[in-house]
């Protein structure tokens, strides 16, 4: 279970939140010109990295506000939460703990319990 730091309410239990998938997805411009393939990509394809990931959460059982988050999907560590109107943080600010694209973090997959 995660503790998620709602930018409005502070740290709360994950059970109060719902996940909203990838953040910063942009609807394609020129909707009349683009083809089925581009539309398909917009509708169906989302980033799915092992490592640093921009995602959205909503504090369903709290303030009911949406916000964004940077999380490491290889460890589930939440690195930052920020409001929707705040600038997208640069991923270079964070350290990815996975050395190869599909490698495992040093502490072992799913065992990131060590205090840093």
């Amino acid at each position: 279970m995660l503790i998620i730091n709602c930018p409005y309410c502070g740290p709360r239990d994950q059970s109060e939140f719902s996940n909203g998938g990838e953040a910063h997805v942009k609807r394609p411009d020129g909707s009349k010109e683009i083809g089925d393939r581009e539309w398909g990509e917009y509708v169906f394809i989302r980033a799915n990295p092992k490592g640093l990931f921009y995602e959205r959460w909503v504090h369903t059982h709290g303030c009911r506000k949406w916000f964004n988050c940077v999380r490491d999907t290889s460890t589930d560590e939440i690195l930052m939460t920020y409001k929707l109107d705040e600038k997208k943080p640069n991923l270079n600010n964070f350290k990815s703990v996975v050395k190869t694209p599909s490698g495992e973090p040093e502490v072992g997959s799913g065992n990131f319990t060590v205090e840093k």
């Binding site: 994950q14 996940n19 998938g21 083809g35 092992k50 190869t100 599909s102 799913g110």
Partner: protein
Amino acid sequence: MKKKYSIFSLARNALSGHKDWPKMWRSPEPREFYDVIIIGGGGHGLGTAYYLAKEHGLKNIAVIEKGWLGGGNTGRNTTIIRSNYLWDDSAHLYEHSLKLWENLSSELNYNVMFSQRGVMNLAHNEHDIKEIKRRVSANNLNGIDSFWLSKEEIQKKVPIMNTDNLRYPVLGASYQPRGGVARHDAIAWGFAMRADEMGVDIIQNCEAHQIRTKNGITEGVETSKGFLRANKIGVVASGHTGVLAESAGIRLPLQSKPLQALVSEPIKPIIDTVVMSSAVHAYVSQSDKGELVIGAGTDSYNSFTQRGGFNIIEDTIRAMVELYPVFGKMKMLRQWGGIVDICPDASPIISKCDIEGLFFNCGWGTGGFKATPGSANVFAHTIAKNEPHQINSAFNLDRFASGRLVDEHGAAAVAH
């Protein structure tokens, strides 16, 4: 040498203290070049290599695996096998697989412990009843054994089930007698052994780092054991398939999430069929060792931690205890998570792509184990012939542009 297993070899090896069993497969160093490299040494990948060698006459094949054989989702599922899917495309694919399962132990001369003990899918409300009856009819039209069980018939089959005194009462179920369970390791080991005998190199502890392509043609794969050249690459890496596709510049419509399962302490035989309920989200069978094998759900967020959230287990156990009050005081022994790659339509992708010589078999989501031999069989065909088998032609990547989805959210064991 072909390894044969029989009651006599078992007796002979028992007398010598089981010290003289031959190694089931070699552990070769990788060669520089292969006709086909399969990334992912689970059941689907090893099966693909087996069918490529057996049915398509290819000999220069390697299977590379980051960890050990069957250590990914092949060893992390609840081993339920059935083919009662709604749409024709899925029904044909899963039924193809079920038919292969039925003959697999004798074909491989290796006991995959396929036990056709029947699979029940429970209905808990009016809508479930309508949906499940519709599915039963669709199954029957596709020649799949499936019928409707009344509440009384369920009570007779599974007397420990609490059908009335719970929030979502049990109103009926579909039943597929040919469904059942199999041994997860055995399917990987059986395919591995027979593929190895036909010359397939099985290379463990070899992580794929990057798929290299040039001018739209597959060149090979960078691995932890160096660069391996290949004419064709088949990626069957379940949760990690999207990561590998990305390395070749291909975006797949997959989201990776942990799916959990757990087993109880072993008890005497108490449930002799498989019971699934997607409405209250609990499914259970009993292993040959006597443990209850319980399937839970996926987390709501993307993750590669093979663990999963505790709240998911709580939900499942709550439903289990309500459906089977007799299990209330049992202890759970082990819990684990596997990383499943979920497609927007809850159906797999078995397809070529824009890059020549690069193939994907992924998106099995929460229900890939049952499809292992069928998926491997049609994927081998797709790789060997550069075009899909009739059975997997609907499961292409183009469907996410054309909109011809195979929407199986209703038939998935896990509502996701």
